[in-house]
């Protein structure tokens, strides 16, 4: 018999007893002697037959398929080293950078991505024993020009996007900006006016601060609408 002890949406800390008996569990939980304990400071979520703890802080851990925003920190003859804000530095090999074949004799890696460039990229593979590999040869990926880059906690990105993108689409619409969210917590904002960009950033920072509260979409809508009047 399984029994959930913690309250749904409660703030839990490492070592808090959450449930007993057989139950499916997700991230942020350790099992010990048939009891389930939280392993992080986070928001407890009880979904009936499934429990998990959403961490409120923490470094980004790469997952294959994630869209991330990185910064080129090193250029070599046939590859780039990219900082993606995780404990492991990512490698973008020249073969995965462009759709054309890369010839190290004719082509110059610096002409594709130079030091300090901000790139939108996808994680192709990562398994903790080796550093993550990136790709930019898919549609929509590549260098980001202009705009502003902000960094928030990676764990709050799902909240910024919202259910089926409701939150991010609302911000985009109300502030008339282009926004790209990287799963690693970096967000690129581009608008025609500086005020629009700043308003979008203000909204995103508010989401980060209040990520663990309820009814956030309504408050953000109110906040942006108020400013416009």
């Amino acid at each position: 018999m399984s029994k959930v002890i913690a309250k749904n949406h409660a703030i839990v800390i490492p070592g808090d007893l959450l449930a007993e008996g057989p139950i499916n569990f997700g991230e942020g939980i350790v099992k010990r002697n048939g009891e389930y304990y939280s392993s992080v400071v986070g928001l407890f979520q009880d979904k009936g037959d499934f429990i998990q703890v959403k961490a409120l802080r923490g470094k980004y851990i790469p997952r294959p398929g994630d869209l991330v925003i990185g910064k080129v920190t090193e250029v070599s003859l046939t590859s780039w080293i990219v900082d993606i804000g995780s404990p492991y530095t990512a490698i973008l090999s020249a073969n995965n950078a462009t759709e054309k074949r890369f010839d190290p004799i004719k082509d110059d890696a610096r002409k594709i991505f130079d030091l300090g460039d901000i790139i939108l990229t996808k994680i192709a593979s990562f398994d903790r024993t080796r550093d993550p590999m990136l790709i930019t040869n898919e549609r929509g990926l590549g260098k980001l020009r202009g705009g502003r880059l902000i960094e928030i906690e990676a764990s709050h990105i799902p909240r910024v996007i919202g259910k089926k993108g409701t939150m991010i689409n609302m911000i985009k619409r109300l502030t008339r900006t282009q926004i790209i969210t990287g799963q690693n917590g970096r967000i690129w904002v581009n608008g025609k006016k500086i005020e629009d960009e700043l308003k979008a950033i203000q909204a995103i920072t508010k989401i980060e601060l209040e990520a663990h509260t309820q009814g956030l979409t309504d408050r953000i809508r109110e906040m942006i609408s108020e400013d416009q009047q």
């Binding site: 802080r57 663990h212 509260t213």
Partner: protein, 288 residues
């Protein structure tokens, strides 16, 4: 370190020099998020002690050959500021500081789930701004809070406090004078969740009875300290919640209560349906 026991540190009524009883902790306050650049941080004030703990990581380890293939390395850097004690402390890392750094990092390694971040390092910087005895235990207490604040997965927090002997009497949480003039001191790191001891040192001569009493009194003190650690970690988030959610709560509760009062199950289904399209219609209008 231990004195000869000739100085009178506790009176007949069991009141110590700073007015505490034998089994009483110094006033403790813990605050998280004091260092904005760090991934996690905590400040502990325990009596006159002020210590800041800052956690960076998990991050890449340099030099790379020190990295462990299967888990993260925990590196602690315990430092006393030159101005933290009466006689200026030399800024060079002393033998004592290296020892304390090592025992704290070993102690933390027993609760942190290091295998989640192989090949990385978790750096814990502990800066003592003001020292008044028991800084190693206070540092460990702050370090475990800072690690939790950094979002690093752990089995549980470590609460740490010392017990000791003054005038042949067992007391909790020694301060500087008791540490120097007393006849023994027993720093303990204890994880209340696991019921495990992760740090135990001893200085001075104890009888078996005194040792057992000291251990029990220290474990009891650590359990009290754990409650303060827990509150410190939750405070930040519950404060934000209280600030933004309270004015909206009546609104959110009203529609929930109504369907429960109505006995017909048909209405239960209808009500949310009629309620839900309304905001979505508004949304559509805004789009247009």
């Amino acid at each position: 370190m231990a004195g000869d026991g000739t100085v009178k540190l506790i009176d007949e009524k069991g009141i110590r020099l700073d007015g505490r009883k034998a089994d009483e902790l110094r006033p403790v306050s813990i605050k998280i998020g004091v260092i904005k650049n760090a991934n996690g941080s905590a400040e502990i004030r325990m009596g006159k002690n002020i210590i800041i703990a800052a956690v960076y990581g998990p991050r890449e380890l340099h030099p790379k050959h020190r990295a462990l293939a299967d888990r993260a390395l925990i590196q602690c850097f315990y430092r006393m500021s030159t101005f933290s004690v009466n006689d200026r402390k030399s800024p060079a890392p002393s033998r004592r500081e290296k020892e304390i750094s090592m025992v704290i990092s070993n102690s933390l390694s027993s609760v942190v789930l290091t295998e989640k971040y192989p090949r990385t390092t978790i750096d814990v910087y502990l800066q003592v701004l003001q020292a008044d005895g028991g800084t190693r235990t206070a540092s460990l207490t702050a370090a475990s809070v800072a690690l939790a604040d950094a979002g690093i997965p752990m089995k549980g927090l470590i609460a740490s406090v010392a017990a000791g002997l003054i005038n042949d009497q067992v007391v909790l949480d020694l301060f500087d004078i008791e540490d120097q003039k007393g006849s023994g001191d027993l720093p303990l790191g204890y994880c209340p969740v696991l019921d495990e001891i992760s740090l135990l040192q001893l200085d001075g001569v104890f009888t078996v009875k005194q040792f057992e009493d000291s251990l029990n009194i220290a474990i009891k003190g650590a359990k009290d300290l754990y409650e303060i650690q827990r509150d410190a970690l939750k405070q930040k988030y519950t404060d934000i919640r209280a600030e933004v959610e309270v004015p909206e709560k009546p609104k959110a509760e009203e529609p929930k209560v109504e369907p429960k009062v109505v006995p017909k199950p048909v209405l239960k289904v209808e009500k949310p349906k009629t309620e839900e399209p309304k905001p979505s219609e508004d949304d559509k209008r805004e789009v247009e």
